[in-house]
Symmetry: C2
């Protein structure tokens, strides 16, 4: 096939059919349950891929930084939530963007609410960031009085339109598939308990979002909005935790083999931390930095049995292969590495090559 | 100070005085021992910083990819070793570069030597990659007959000028400071034992290179060339293993504080895996993703006691602080994070801000 021949160095492959199917599937699931779908665009980071969402009728999106919000606003997205605590050092840029689009912001402290009140000239939507157990950011779900005090403050500030409470159930990433569903439900329950306790403030929306929970939970529960991102591509980590099947994974990093070590069933590839990121998961004692597939027709194969990236440095990957694969793989061949964490690999690579040979750019490589 | 005020988002700070002192120190050490200094430019990746080496009289450099070699060749570097096994899929680009500069290549198999013979029209220097125990790439140091067979092959090919044997003693990265020196000496011993066993082939050079060994070993030993890279900036990992002092570290990532969690002595910063990389070291059971300093006059402070980045996701860092620092650090303040692995942080950030407010670009951000 033409694309295999043209690849000289680490190249991020994108199967656009799979990505589009993943988008449709999650969109239909949300629609059927009458839940607003606000996909997180930090995974693909691409205006062109954004259009695939637009084709499905999606108008509302999530991003992880103000820079990313500005990028997608340039491409016509008018309703964007920045799912990251407001960085008050960027107030001028924020104000500028708030003038032009319908902007949603996350806050978790009265000081930031007050500062927004002093600086903003346009209305913004406000979501209060709740920590449902992940322990990263947000007010703990079991501190309703703290949330109530913040709401009281927000209500005093005319530019702030309080929409509701928002959480990222990120702790679903470190669990088995049953555990993922159980924890997703627990997060929904906690958010609704908090919403009820805040009943005096009128109707508040609940926004949740993570790929494992939104994929595995048949019933998305009593929420107004979901914000998963990774589901467009999935990755080796999601496969490992039973969130997706191999045929749901839409990206792979094509890497040239540069050395063979048959005595230890290993090859070295050009493809390291600066391409894949250093994310890994543990399979027993073994750290896994990627799974391994082969070019196969105009796609990559299923992951090879007993094959994985066992370690990476800046430019190298050290790949363990089965004895059978070891014999056939030669220096100069390509391996297709299924990344452990597709969001970070996409960010590192900054552009895609589709299986029909088209280059798709991202925020960082326009 | 002007620079603190101007910083709105994660920004890689560079103390150029420290970096220049680190360059001078390593250069003088090599010169005093009559060893060729061929610094690895994968750490700084910047033409402008390259000039600081040139000012010290350095003409020979190491890079980790053909792209990086092309970049530095554009900026007048004429003697470059690509310390990465030849990627035969890039043969045309390689041939093009070999025409223009004095190029050194690494090989470890007769097949690649033969392919170079078929494709190259210009002379290149050849280094045989030796594995001294790191287990990444190269022929094992205790397989002299395999090396001899490869040399015989190389000697048959007129475009290949065999220079010697080369190793990256990368396993020094996972050891204590005494252990680092012991292993550096062991690697030198193994390389020289191999060189002696290959005596029939005439004089072969020995090239070694890693920052921990080259920094800590007073006597660099019987080698012809050293190729450390990280020493220009050092980082939290090198500090942890006793390779450098806090005042030797030349880079820090300035990160805005976006949320405070006094109940657990933590703040959240804008600064995550896409800025720092996901590299970490373990201090006991605790994974450390960065050390923490504060802006102090026109520099950053020493690392704060009992403070570290305890976890990172795509854009966030979760920072543990002492109770005293917790009280004074406010939302909107900057923390200066000492990266765990400066090479990867530089690659992720793609440009620097010097302490006197100058932007320095890299290969990936011209």
């Amino acid at each position: 096939m033409a694309i295999w021949h043209s690849i000289e160095k680490p190249t991020l492959l994108l199967n656009s059919d799979i990505a589009r199917r993943n988008i449709r599937r999650m969109n239909e699931k949300a629609k059927a349950q009458k839940i607003r779908f606000r996909p997180h665009f930090k995974t693909h980071q691409s205006a062109e891929i954004g259009e695939w969402f637009r084709e499905e009728g999606i108008q509302t999106i999530t991003v992880s930084s103000l820079d990313m919000a500005e990028y997608f606003a340039r491409y016509g997205w008018q309703d964007i939530t920045i799912a990251f605590p407001v960085n008050i050092r960027q107030m001028d840029t924020l104000q500028n963007l708030a003038k032009r689009i319908h902007l949603g912001l996350l806050i978790e402290s009265p000081e930031v609410a007050q500062l927004l009140g002093q600086c903003l000239k346009s209305m913004v939507d406000i979501w209060i960031k709740i920590d449902c157990g992940y322990g990263r950011t947000g007010i703990s779900w079991n501190q309703p009085s703290e949330v109530a005090a913040l709401i009281t403050e927000i209500r005093r500030i005319p530019q702030l339109n309080l929409r509701g409470i928002l959480t990222h159930a990120g702790h679903t990433y470190i669990a088995s598939s049953q555990e993922i569903v159980r924890r997703y439900r627990e997060a929904i329950e906690r958010m609704n308990r908090l919403r009820n306790e805040l009943g005096e403030f009128g109707s508040l929306e609940v926004s949740v979002g993570d790929t494992p929970g939104c994929t595995l939970a048949g019933d998305l529960g009593e929420v107004d909005e979901i914000r998963p991102g990774n589901f467009i591509f999935y990755d080796a980590m999601q496969l490992h935790f039973g969130v997706c099947h191999p045929e749901d994974i839409a990206v792979a990093l094509a890497c040239p083999v540069v050395a063979r070590h048959p005595n230890r069933n290993e090859v070295a590839i050009h493809g390291g931390a600066i391409h894949l990121s250093k994310d890994y998961f543990k399979d027993g004692e073994q750290a896994i930095y990627g799974l391994v597939a082969l070019p196969e027709g105009d796609n990559w194969s299923k992951p090879l049995p007993n094959a994985f990236v066992r370690g990476i440095s800046q430019e190298h990957g050290m790949v363990h292969l089965s004895s059978a694969n070891m014999q056939s793989v030669q220096v100069g061949d390509l391996l297709c590495i299924i990344p452990v964490h597709s969001c970070l690999t996409v960010h590192a690579m900054r552009s895609y090559l589709t299986l029909d040979g088209k280059i798709i750019s991202t925020l960082n490589k326009d």
